[in-house]
């Protein structure tokens, strides 16, 4: 089972760190990501942050982070309130299920597995999000969801791949320097 929440000061420090990361991702999402939007689709950096928290801190922390970050996104981005919170809570829960347990470390996860987990979480998030999003619209819901969920998942996965590769590189260098 996933590790429990960290006690004491460390928990608060991590909480502050994640909050800062969420703030930075929000700024990036609002200000800079529209510059790389393709047909209105942007990679979901806040979703990747939820996955990061879920994989590092466990399923419950991931679920809570998903909800908190979802609410934050619902507030700052135009759209129905609660929609992002719902989808991200679910995505955080799903990804948190694959968090390393016991003595296992996130660094031990292979790139393939990591990206598969991200793809699954992103897919769940986007299908739920766009399925709820399309509800009041007069369009073919299946086509809409497949099109936008697919595109959004793909774009987020591309960014996730770059981040994972960068992270792996950083971890390796760190290990070499420690030796």
């Amino acid at each position: 089972m996933a590790p429990s929440l960290l006690p004491g000061v460390q928990v608060w420090l991590r909480l502050v760190g994640y909050s800062l990361a969420a703030f930075c991702c929000t700024v990036l999402h609002i200000v800079f990501l529209p510059l790389v939007a393709v047909a209105g689709i942007v990679p979901d950096l806040l979703l990747l942050l939820v996955f990061w928290i879920a994989l590092r801190e466990g399923q419950i922390a991931g679920t809570l982070a998903g909800f908190a970050i979802g609410v934050l996104m619902d507030l700052v981005l135009p759209g129905a309130l609660g929609l992002s919170a719902f989808a991200k809570t679910l995505a955080g829960f799903v990804v948190g299920f694959f968090a390393p347990v016991g003595n296992d470390d996130l660094r031990m996860m292979s790139i393939g597995k990591l990206l598969s987990v991200v793809a699954l979480g992103s897919g769940v998030h986007n299908v739920v999000y766009f399925a709820l999003f399309v509800h009041p619209m007069d369009v073919n819901p299946v086509e809409f969801v497949l099109k936008y969920a697919g595109a959004s998942t793909g774009y987020t996965l591309v960014v996730a791949t770059l981040l994972v590769l960068g992270l792996q590189l950083w971890w390796r260098r760190r290990v070499i320097s420690e030796r």
């Binding site: 609002i30 200000v31 800079f32 529209p34 510059l35 419950i60 998903g66 309130l81 929609l83």
Partner: protein, 282 residues
């Protein structure tokens, strides 16, 4: 014992319980979306978002700029077409208003008509009017606007008339210069918007800008109808006449509303003139 089992069970499924609670909270947020208190909160965050945009928002987005550019181009074209339509409507309005005042200016009766077709660019330029013999239009009647002479009726059917425009290879008009009164013959030389005035002796002072009017020496058109304006004067020493370039008063391409003057050459005068020409040839 039971309580302990419940605690263990809750600990085992707490992740699911938390998930359920948070999903329910999300659904509750969806239901509360339009509540006034939440609107205040979203308004507050929008202020923050706006501040973020104003703080970091100076970065150009090439894709958005290109799209905006295309949109502006399209909008510009649409607006240009709209302006053209408005200008045309204004010109039409002006012409109609002027035509309504024509009766006071011209001592003839007239038939208002609309140009429904133009044949141009073949050295024989004609306009088709929507009025014909049923409306009283006859062959030979001059066609004018308040600006001046446009041409004369060349042929007529019951409901249509063909106007031989001045910019026509076969048209020759007896005209006079407004200041000196010297008379000559105006003819089109094949260039759009350009006429040549012949037979004005070089002893007559002629200046660019002088108006050219129909002459009274010919009964084909009523006298003193503006035809054009002198814009260049050349001397032809060998002949003793000027070569005067005239621009028409009416760019007929932009016209739609005209008046057919109920003036036909006097049959008795026309007969006499024809006899004179016959004698000249003999």
């Amino acid at each position: 014992m039971l309580l302990q089992r419940v605690v263990v069970f809750v600990q085992r499924v707490r992740a699911y319980l938390i998930l359920l609670a948070l999903l329910l909270a999300s659904v509750a947020l969806m239901q509360l979306d339009n509540e006034r208190q939440l609107r205040g909160l979203t308004a507050l965050t929008l202020v923050g978002v706006g501040a973020m945009h104003s703080l970091f928002g100076g970065f150009p987005n090439p894709i958005a700029l290109r799209q905006e550019n295309e949109l502006l181009h399209r909008l510009n074209t649409e607006l240009m077409l709209e302006v053209i339509q408005l200008r045309r409507a204004r010109a039409e309005n002006e012409q109609l208003r002027q035509l309504s005042n024509l009766r006071a200016l011209v001592p003839y009766g007239f038939i208002p008509a609309e140009i429904v077709g133009l044949t141009v660019g073949q050295l024989r330029n004609y306009a088709v009017l929507d009025k014909g013999s049923a409306d009283g239009v006859q062959v030979g009647m001059p066609v004018v606007t308040t600006a001046g002479l446009l041409g004369r009726v060349f042929d007529v059917s019951a409901h249509y008339a063909i106007v031989e425009l001045l910019e026509n290879r076969d048209v020759r008009i007896a005209v006079r210069l407004e200041k000196s009164g010297a008379e000559g013959i105006l003819a089109w030389e094949g260039t759009v918007g350009r006429f040549l005035l012949h037979y004005i002796p070089t002893s007559v002072p002629v200046q660019a800008g002088e108006r050219v009017l129909t002459a009274s020496s010919s009964d084909r058109f009523p006298p003193d109808i503006p035809v054009g304006t002198v814009y260049a004067v050349e001397r032809e020493p060998a002949s003793g006449f000027y070569r005067i370039h005239v621009v028409p008063v009416i760019p007929y391409q932009v016209l739609r509303h005209v008046a057919v003057l109920q003036h036909v050459p006097h049959p008795e005068r026309r007969l006499l003139e024809q006899r004179l020409r016959k004698l000249g040839r003999e």
